[in-house]
Symmetry: C2
Subunit: 465 residues, 2 copies
């Protein structure tokens, strides 16, 4: 396993350049762009950035780096939140953003095949022409490859699933350059080990994903959104879990505290009341949507939900969800020059109100500005905590508080990450959560597939315990 | 890796017995019962059968067998269809059927935790008391552990998913006796490699599953079933795929050819017209179910579907699906003394009509009685081919024909197995489907986790290529 920073020699740069038509750069602005993601982790410059255009190029570059023991970090849009793409040991940042072709749209099979560098919004623009959509929607306009690698989810997971449920097949390149095709373009598959699900969420540590077949859905006949206010956070969360328990098939159900709403109002020009709020979306037939909305309205009333407003106006609906997706940037815009540490805990539904209360109570004991929002119908919530990178040690201080909350969440049966992944930030939390024996199994698999440890070293787990 | 049959010494039997309070047997009837599954594979006797009661016992037995290089085949209900539980190299059959406790039913979290030996029907009986149900329903009353190991699915997969989507967490024991806990009781999880999905479908070759947390659902307010006849197989299949493409959320959509219907009539005392037929089920609110049924009725009419009969009578509905689940035994009952070879192919939806036609045309060139049925809304179908075990070489002859069909299905983008798994029967088909490189990755993982190859040797892939 690699343990020290690797800088490429001039000769190595020349040799890799020859494999990719010269698309290798050591320009400082390019290195800087590939040194960080959206998190508050300290940036680390790669030694070089390689732009690839084909699976075969990825294979050639990996085979070379494997022989030369050069670390390789795959890079998509750089929107991860746990330092996933920070090249901790230097080496190369392997940028897949030129692999942005939508290869095959198949409405009859409700699937699409894309290169890993395709962005989710571009994909949905193309799919809309066929009356289709791809459901997984993290806030950022991430690449599909990056979303696979982190096992991304979003606001529609409660209805349509996360990447885990929507990736059907993958082409990927192993550390030694071997190209593998895993999964199948069929709805059901039971053929051998589920390597697709092993690679989804493996955070670039087992292989570099180059092509993806995704399940897509027909755009529902009718979509409507609704907004409800609550007197406090607990009632809002309790209402959401009651709705899920009743089996109402909401397409989206998002909680935002009053501070989130304030940031969204300022950033997206909304004028929502600054109170704890649930955003809903309903998908279906006109009658079905109306029936679901009425049931939800009844339930939220029992939890003192007020001002139930709903709209099936497409412009208003889009504006609401675009604002929700911007919450990370809205929060940063409200705190110029600062960064955000985002938690990502999830608990069994019955523990959600308690979990959110614990997070809120712990954070309130500290001086850092924070807000809470979440995919509450899935039991998944985020605390966005503001840190000042100019103040020495502040981010570390926040991480200590977050760790304290995380351990409480784990103790109540929860997880340290519902959708952001482990990256460099939750390596200890993963051990606390799943135990040394299970993490050792992950390490064994890593060692079996990436003998020299060149792929994204320092993420998910460490070897030097 | 083990390559030859292992028979236990008297001393080994005594030592294993001491680990499990004497629950080890070499009685011929017990050995015979553990020598086969529901497939037509030639039975192989284990050297001994060990009945375990706890995860700790499984751990102790595996640690011993690993040191002594004794093959271990986990055994649940013995209802697999590809020879999964046949102990090809002798050793012990590890019977988990005494581990039949339902440990925790949590209606508020819509989950249940069970020991691996719990049967699916017993689980559903218990869940019904809480207004809940567990959705995955292979024909047989399999154990939950076995269903995890084979990645089982069933008639409701189109709506509720297969084991892959409904297993939340597992306790499992590795070959060396290490106990691991993987997954989490949360709806969303992105914490490290998805070991849960790696074990689901690994067919007892990576670990022995001892406890399972499953997602369960509230019993829908309204359920209704419908039956429609078609002039031919192609129209029936085409109607089913059109329904899926329209986005109608059917809960079940099963195709049965006229021979299947004939067998069910005889076995379950039904009096259905012996024509190609679709069985449907709808789940939801009373209005939603009615709306769905009306939409389906309109679509099937376009494909010359006739005699659309629907019922929301609970007794009739149950009788219909109980008959469907019995189809394997109904087919055997119609052919006394014979066995059945069941295929399990799946294709992208748009290719289903072609795939079924290819299967039917190829089988029609041979003299073996056969029938076709399938989970057509998932693109998954089965041919049940009757073989006479008394006639030397007949089963092998059938396997040659099946292989011919399988290769055609793979060439059109399909899979050799949607839900039955690879077992001993589809080892070559797996390589044809996913390629040597991906199978090599599976082998590497196997070698990393089961160094001595004691767990279910001879299944999924071979080592002596």
């Amino acid at each position: 396993m690699l343990t020290h920073r690797v800088d490429l020699t001039t000769d190595q740069i020349r040799q890799i350049g020859a494999l990719v038509d010269g698309r290798i750069s050591t320009h400082s602005s390019v290195l800087e762009q590939h040194s960080h993601d959206e998190s508050a982790f300290v940036p680390v410059l790669p030694s070089a950035v390689v732009m690839v255009k084909t699976t075969e190029e990825v294979s050639a570059v990996l085979a070379f780096c494997n022989l030369e023991r050069i670390p390789v970090v795959a890079f998509g849009a750089g929107t991860a939140l746990e330092g996933h793409v920070v090249p901790l040991l230097g080496g190369i940042s392997l940028d897949l953003s030129l692999m942005d072709k939508i290869l095959d749209v198949r409405p009859d099979d409700l699937l699409v095949r894309v290169e890993a560098g395709v962005h989710r919004l571009a994909l949905n623009e193309r799919l809309a022409r066929e009356g289709l959509f791809f459901s997984v929607d993290p806030g950022a306009d991430a690449t599909i490859g990056g979303m696979c690698a982190t096992g991304a989810a979003g606001t529609t997971t409660v209805r349509y699933g996360s990447m885990r449920e929507n990736v059907m097949a993958l082409t990927a390149v192993l550390a030694d350059g071997t190209i593998i095709h895993v999964g199948r373009e069929t709805r059901k598959l039971s053929a051998g080990y589920d390597l697709t699900r092993l690679l989804v969420g493996s955070e670039g540590t087992l292989a570099v994903i180059t092509e993806v077949t995704l399940r897509v859905f027909g755009i529902p006949e009718k979509m409507a959104a609704a907004v409800v206010r609550f007197p406090n956070l607990t009632n809002g969360v309790a209402a959401a879990t009651a709705i899920v328990k009743m089996g109402i098939a909401v397409a989206r159900c998002e909680f935002l505290d009053s501070k989130c709403i304030k940031y969204l109002n300022a950033y997206d020009g909304l004028s929502l009341k600054e109170e704890p709020t649930l955003f809903f979306e309903f998908h279906g037939t006109p009658r079905g949507v109306e029936e679901d909305a009425l049931s939800v309205q009844e339930i939220v009333r029992e939890f003192d939900g007020t001002d139930f407003e709903w709209t099936s106006d497409e412009g208003q609906r889009r504006k609401l969800w675009s604002a929700r997706h911007n919450s990370h940037w809205a929060t940063l815009a409200a705190h110029p020059g600062k960064k955000s540490v985002s938690t990502d805990m999830a608990v069994p539904l019955s523990r959600l109100a308690d979990a959110v209360a614990i997070a809120e109570a712990t954070l309130s004991q500290h001086r850092f500005p924070h807000s809470i929002l979440g995919h509450v119908a899935d039991g998944n919530f985020h605390c966005q905590i503001i840190t000042d990178p100019e103040i020495d040690g502040q981010t570390e201080e926040i991480r200590v508080v977050v760790n304290e909350i995380t351990l409480e969440i784990i103790a109540m049966g929860g997880t340290c990450t519902g959708e952001h992944g482990i990256g460099a930030g939750k390596i200890a939390a993963l051990v606390a959560e799943t135990g040394t024996a299970a993490v050792d199994v992950m390490r064994s698999i890593k060692l079996a597939l990436d003998v020299n440890g060149i792929l994204n070293p320092g993420k998910v787990f460490l070897f030097d315990r």
